[in-house]
Amino acid sequence: MEGLFLKKVLITDDAAFMRFSLKTMLERNGFEIVGEAENGAIAAEKYKILKPDIVTLDITMPVMDGLQALKQIKAIDKSAKVIMISAMGQEGIVREAIISGATGFIVKPFKEETILKVFEKL
């Protein structure tokens, strides 16, 4: 990534493994992970504080799921760039996420190239 400043990313997923995988892939490609959240509520809170450029949200999470978190974050910042991380079979929720303003989505399991293709365009 060119430019003086690396794009800042907030990663949300209840699974430590998923957070770690995504973090590793993104950091390798010039993104800065400014924070991690284990559920949607924490993600919304951290969004307010960290003001990242991009947020990733897993869909299935305890306390507050990805869809609710998306709506909260969009309420905080209309122009927030949010990528949903979904699994097969969650088409309905992803569609609703699109309507609620999600910028895009990735389907698990994903490879590094896949992630990059999405993030490049943000």
Binding site: D14, A15, A16, F17, M18, F20, S21, T24, E38, N39, I42, T60, M61, P62, V63, M64, D65, Q68, S86, A87, M88, G89, Q90, E91, G92, I93, V94, R95, E96, I98, I99, G104, F105, V107, K108, P109, F110, K111, T114, K117, V118, K121
Partner: protein, 691 residues
């Protein structure tokens, strides 16, 4: 976590760690639900989430057999979650779940040992889908996907119009191809439609149904997503917007006069407001989620709170830290107790070194506490065993756990897991009677096994007790005599001594080898395990009432309180926990039997004498009993006296293992470096007394 220094890729490390944790959580929930014959909403959600996570992570790591199994179980619990009130065969369901857990644990174990995770999950997957089918049949509800609730006919629709303005509109035709492997092309197509509606006044597309139909995914992959729309936006802007499509492989965009035939056909269909239909769908789906969230909130906020204050650290780093702190303790002693300083008056120096001592002690305490883990995880593992065995043996058993917060060094925890398992198995298999027998003896039909952990001084006690039939003193004595393991008469031996015979190798009163506890293989191995961590076992029992097995283990292996003694020019350390007392003997009190075995009388009792200088072949001038000191020591069964030249003093020492090139002699547990740089060998009391 790699204990032997094997360094694994961090991603694999985290995967294994998380998978293990999740399996443990799942096992606990499952056993709880099965026991109570009830699954709460929280439990369902949690089980679903665990399966979902394992599915995703395993797929990422390419462990497909695990992923597929997790997926099928996830489907099962998805059904249970979405169905409002259904009948569940708890036994069947959780048997399956526990089998799944075992499979996954097994694969994880293979991976941890650098083997291939080559287990076949197909049988379990089949079982799972069969169970799901059965549930569906029994409960009459079939849910295809999460859009089930939508009742509207959404097959033919046209997106809503922004405005019917009078600007000059141009018809466009676009065909979009997506990158291979991006998945959910129908939803991606939906995204395009959703984004275009802001600028388009009409839109028709093929495939038509990108909401309900899964076939559309194939169609889009094959022929691309064809979309015809009309807009007043400039071609450049349209192209720009479309080129921003994520995973766009190929875009064909052209201005057209008329839509092609296949799209024109769609124009004639009913118009339905896309937005309205979707928001209705979302209302449908939202309600159950909302309820779930509220119910879950309390339980899970607590959980995530806990998670946030914990980080996982590589065990090898902790080991290194502990080693270094040990070295610092030794170095500190070498400085402050340096022979160069002997006889000098150094008030300021002494003050400073006392402060240093205080800090090193504190540092040591903190580092030790890092390695301390509660026994709860190990104790809870026993739940599964009790559950499985009680089912197989058809005995009703309750496992009571007391003091699970008690902490023990991580190294030690690893060594008590197997012995505990064996003791619990024994209690269940041989200790607890069948239901009828219990009722006949006026005992509650449900047998009780208690696991208790508590601190006492520098040791931790772990006690396994049951209210079963107890040990038969006579029978044990007979068997021991038969095996040649005892020579004394039964009357001469205390209960404890007779009961401890079952710890001897080759002993067993079991007439038949059961599936769970073999013949004479168990208890002596348990003793060996406990011995290897410097612990001790003692057994007590009351016929007809039950048995109690107490295991005493040191808090930590690394540092012990020792008594320094001198034998000749050598120095030895005797662990304080093994010492009863020390005294100066009188020549007359020492007596010898016909074989030359020496004994000393103290307060009416006779104790065997072990002369260290003879045992270790050390030259010393102190040979007559008058000139030396007796140190009375004990292990779990014997008490005797060690004869040494003199006592030097009490000292806390860092235990260092003898170099592997030298395996320890019987009676030596390890060594330590003293303040003056000399090495002191640490006495293994059991080893000496066994000679």
């Amino acid at each position: 976590m790699p204990e032997d220094g094997v360094v694994r890729e961090p991603m694999l490390e985290i995967y294994l760690f998380e998978a293990t944790q999740l399996m443990e959580q799942l096992e606990e929930i499952s056993i709880e639900c099965e026991k109570n014959r009830k699954i709460s909403t929280e439990a369902i959600n949690e089980i679903f989430r665990i399966m979902h996570t394992i599915k995703s992570s395993s797929a990422m790591m390419m462990f497909n057999n695990i992923a597929v199994l997790a997926h099928s179980l996830e489907d099962l619990f998805y059904f249970i979650r979405e169905s409002k009130a259904i009948n569940i065969d708890f036994e069947k369901l959780f048997d399956l779940v526990l089998c799944g857990i075992d499979f996954i644990k097994g694969e994880v174990s293979k991976i941890e040992n650098d083997c291939n995770a080559d287990g076949l999950s197909e049988p379990l997957v089949l079982k799972s889908s069969n169970l799901l089918q059965d549930m569906i049949k029994a409960n009459g509800v079939i849910i295809k996907d999460d859009c089930q609730e939508k009742k509207e006919d959404t097959k033919y629709y046209i997106s809503s119009f922004e405005k019917l303005g009078s600007e000059i509109k141009q018809k466009y035709l676009a065909r979009i191809f997506y990158e291979d492997g991006c998945e959910m092309e129908n939803v991606r197509a939906y995204t395009v439609v959703h984004n275009l509606k802001e600028i388009a006044s009409e839109m028709y597309h093929i495939p038509e149904d990108i909401i309900e139909s899964d076939d559309s995914v194939e169609a889009i992959r094959r022929d691309g997503f064809l979309i015809g729309f009309s807009t007043s936006t400039s071609k450049e802007k349209v192209e720009e917007q479309l080129n921003e499509i994520v995973f766009l492989k190929e875009l064909e965009l052209k201005q057209v006069e008329e839509y092609p035939l296949e799209l024109k056909v769609l124009k004639a269909k009913i118009e339905i407001d896309l937005e309205k239909s979707i928001s209705e769908e979302s209302v449908f789906e939202k309600i159950p989620d909302k309820l779930d969230i509220n119910k879950e909130k309390v339980a899970n906020v607590i959980k995530s709170g806990k998670q946030q204050s914990i980080i996982s650290v590589n065990i090898s780093k902790l080991d290194k830290l502990l080693d270094l702190v040990g070295e610092i303790v030794i170095s500190e002693a070498m400085v402050t107790k340096n022979p160069d300083l002997e006889g000098l008056t150094l008030d300021n120096f002494n003050k400073a070194s006392r402060q240093l001592r205080k800090l090193t002690n504190e540092l040591q305490d903190v580092v030790m506490s890092i390695r301390m883990v509660p026994v709860s995880t190990t104790f809870h593992k026993m739940n599964r065993i009790v559950r499985d065995m009680s089912k197989k043996l058809n005995k009703e058993v309750e496992l009571v756990i007391i003091g699970e917060e008690t902490e023990v060094d991580k190294n030690i925890i690893d060594h008590i897991s197997d012995p505990l398992m064996h003791l619990v198995r024994n209690s269940l298999d041989h200790g607890l009677e069948e239901k009828e027998e219990r009722i006949a003896s006026c005992k509650p039909s449900m047998g009780k096994i208690t696991l208790e952990a508590k601190n006492a001084g520098g040791d931790v006690f772990i006690i396994v007790s049951d209210d079963g039939r107890g040990l038969d003193r006579g029978k044990i004595y007979e068997k021991a005599k038969l095996q040649g393991l005892v020579t004394k008469h039964e009357g001469e031996l205390t209960d404890k001594e007779i009961f401890s015979c079952i710890l001897l190798p080759g002993f067993s009163t079991n007439e038949s080898v059961t599936e769970f506890s073999g013949r004479g293989v168990g208890m002596d191995v348990v003793k060996k395990n406990i011995d290897s961590i410097g612990g001790a076992i003692s057994i007590d029992s009351l016929m007809g009432r039950g048995s109690i097995i107490s295991i005493k283990i040191p808090l930590t292996l690394a540092i012990i309180d020792g008594l320094e003694v001198a034998v000749g020019t050598s120095k030895y350390t005797i662990p304080i926990t093994s010492i009863r007392e020390s005294f100066k003997p009188k020549e007359n009190d020492v007596i010898a039997d016909s074989e030359g075995n020496e004994m000393i009388m103290l307060r009416g009792q006779a104790y065997a004498i072990h002369r260290l200088h003879r045992i270790f072949n050390i030259d010393t001038e102190v040979t007559s009993s008058n000139n030396g000191i007796m140190v009375m020591v004990e292990d779990n069964t014997k008490v005797a006296c060690l004869f040494v030249d003199s006592l030097i003093g009490e000292q806390q020492v860092v235990v260092k293992a003898l170099p592997t090139y030298i395996k320890k002699a019987k009676g030596i547990a390890g060594c330590t470096i003293l303040g003056d740089g000399n090495i002191s060998l640490i006495i293994d009391v059991s080893g000496i007394l066994d000679r």
